[in-house]
Symmetry: C2
Subunit: 331 residues, 2 copies
């Protein structure tokens, strides 16, 4: 049978209150009793039950993390950072992959709510934002990660507009004038497209609307779309793929059509995942400071949980351009 606080109390010859106090280091307990209690705890291999503690009104020290797919390298990296930051604060995280599927989204939100998580981290790719209203009503802390949203929810994200601008400016400065963009059909994707537009507008370079695509992130979609691009005769000299996976797909698709990278086609990605370091040549991409974002996310969420929070706060981190080998000057 599991050993409880009662067992420890009996063993140490004190009351459960005393044991509770030494565990939580509350109130005043003499060193002697403390020692006694600790010894008994050790002997009985006692581990306090979180669930009992949680029921007493305290926190579960668990947070729910909703991502589209943990197996996607970008989210995998994000989950890892979040996990570390959470552990640093004595919390653990339950990860749920939603696959951009609103049914799963509501299912998991409900699940996590039932589990009484102390807070939610909702990452980019969450489609049914209305689902969160209920949580807000219930006063459950939420923070959006890498997903800007219209409501009054706390958010930590990268400046997607800036990222799109950065990538596009890089390409434009290399002389490219016919640049296709393949974006994800999520809000941050739209912002990147606006950045793409802004970079063009700034230089008064016209945009061919046929060069703008929205799709879901996958190798296949990257491949498919780049082929379509050439088959339709758009013949871009550069492609800005809004994430690394798509970028790799673009590279592969282009190569299958006999294009050389970057000689015949420059490609730039987004996220700077492990994939970017693995392609040959290395993928030029826009990097998000995932570690900083995770830190800020947890920090803010914890503040909310502790109730120290007031007003909506949204932090924007600046992306940076990482130039590797898949982009070159147009000659």
């Amino acid at each position: 049978m599991k050993t409880t606080i009662y067992d420890v109390a009996r063993e140490a010859g004190v009351s459960i209150t005393t044991v509770s106090k030494v565990i939580n280091n509350t109130g005043k307990i003499s060193e002697k009793t403390k020692k006694k209690v600790f010894k008994s705890m050790e002997q009985l291999n006692y581990v306090p039950s979180q669930v009992a503690t949680a029921l007493t009104g305290k926190k579960t020290d668990t947070i729910g993390l909703l991502v589209p797919d943990v197996s996607n390298p970008f989210y995998a990296a994000m989950v890892r950072q979040i996990e570390d930051e959470a552990h640093l604060r004595g919390m653990s995280v339950i990860v749920c992959s939603t696959d951009y599927d609103s049914e799963k989204e509501s299912k998991y939100v409900e699940l996590l709510k039932r589990k009484q998580v102390d807070g939610f981290i909702v990452s980019s790719g969450f489609s049914k934002v209305e689902l969160l209203d209920q949580l807000i009503e219930d006063g459950i802390p939420i923070i959006m990660l890498a997903q800007d949203n219209p409501d009054k929810i706390n958010a930590v994200s990268v400046d997607d507009f800036k990222g799109g601008y950065l990538a596009t400016s890089h390409l434009l400065s290399y002389g490219h004038r016919n640049i296709a963009i393949i974006s994800e059909q999520v809000m941050s994707g739209d912002l990147r497209i606006y950045g793409y537009r802004a970079a063009h507008d700034e230089r008064k370079i016209p945009i061919n609307e046929e060069n703008i695509f929205k799709t879901r992130a996958s190798l296949e979609n990257g491949k498919r779309l780049v082929k379509k691009l050439f088959e339709k005769g758009n013949n871009p000299t550069a492609v800005f793929a809004c994430n690394d996976l798509l970028a790799v797909g673009v590279i592969q698709g282009a190569r299958e059509m006999g294009k050389r990278i970057p000689e015949d086609l420059s490609v730039i990605g987004f996220d700077d995942t492990i994939l970017a370091t693995i392609t040959v040549p290395g993928l030029t991409t826009v990097s998000q400071p995932i570690g900083d974002m995770a830190r800020k996310t947890l920090e803010t969420l914890v503040r909310q949980i502790k109730g120290e929070y007031e007003g909506v706060e949204r932090t924007l981190f600046m992306p940076t351009l990482v130039v590797r080998g898949t982009t070159s000057r147009l000659t």
Copy 2:
């Protein structure tokens, strides 16, 4: 304030017992009362508290998953499958990345124990197996995933010996006679080395012990070791890297030394992660049936949790060779 079973009972004009019964569909409750209760639950937006339920002796419906690092593509894929299988069974999973660090291992085991997880899934790369003894004593279900272990713990894994044999045989059949192997310093790594040996022995081909390396999985280590291999004059014609990440490192390192892949050096990996499809040429590798493994793992674990389990059970899945472009016949 959170709405409780009491609120629902009051609203529906029944006792909490009745509400509890309709929630769990236990006992006999008239359709009429059921309807009433459901309506009240809906109105009040009632969500039963898992923690209260758990305290009553039931399960937490949460399992702990220990992996070395979620951001590693192989584990990321694994976590994803486990997560899906768990959700299918109404459970959620808390992921902990141990970094092969035994301090973290014990910290997380303790953490999860405190959280009263219903069971543990311990994946390959768990170093301090003794830590699990305590759990076994406490009767907490554990299952080892992709990590064979000496004790009497349930396990689901791939036949690493066979995998090593498969990879090596492939290389030998291509005429290679000077094959280096870079393995991880974990048990499954050793088994792969035995497979490597067996393939050689079968053909009575001698092994140069200097060609056997053990390291941690990282791009850098792959790079570093392949360079060392050539600097030391081992000059292998093929390298069997015991996971894809190392393999990619090997490819990159070799290229930096001017070797062409596969003309000058054949490289084979293990795991068949997303990385294998991204290198150019595609990485020849050994594939593990992760989906099947995850399914079997959860199935077995759930059986243990339900107490339907008897005796130790270990399932071995067969790996398969996936030939892509990084291996070629020795000419």
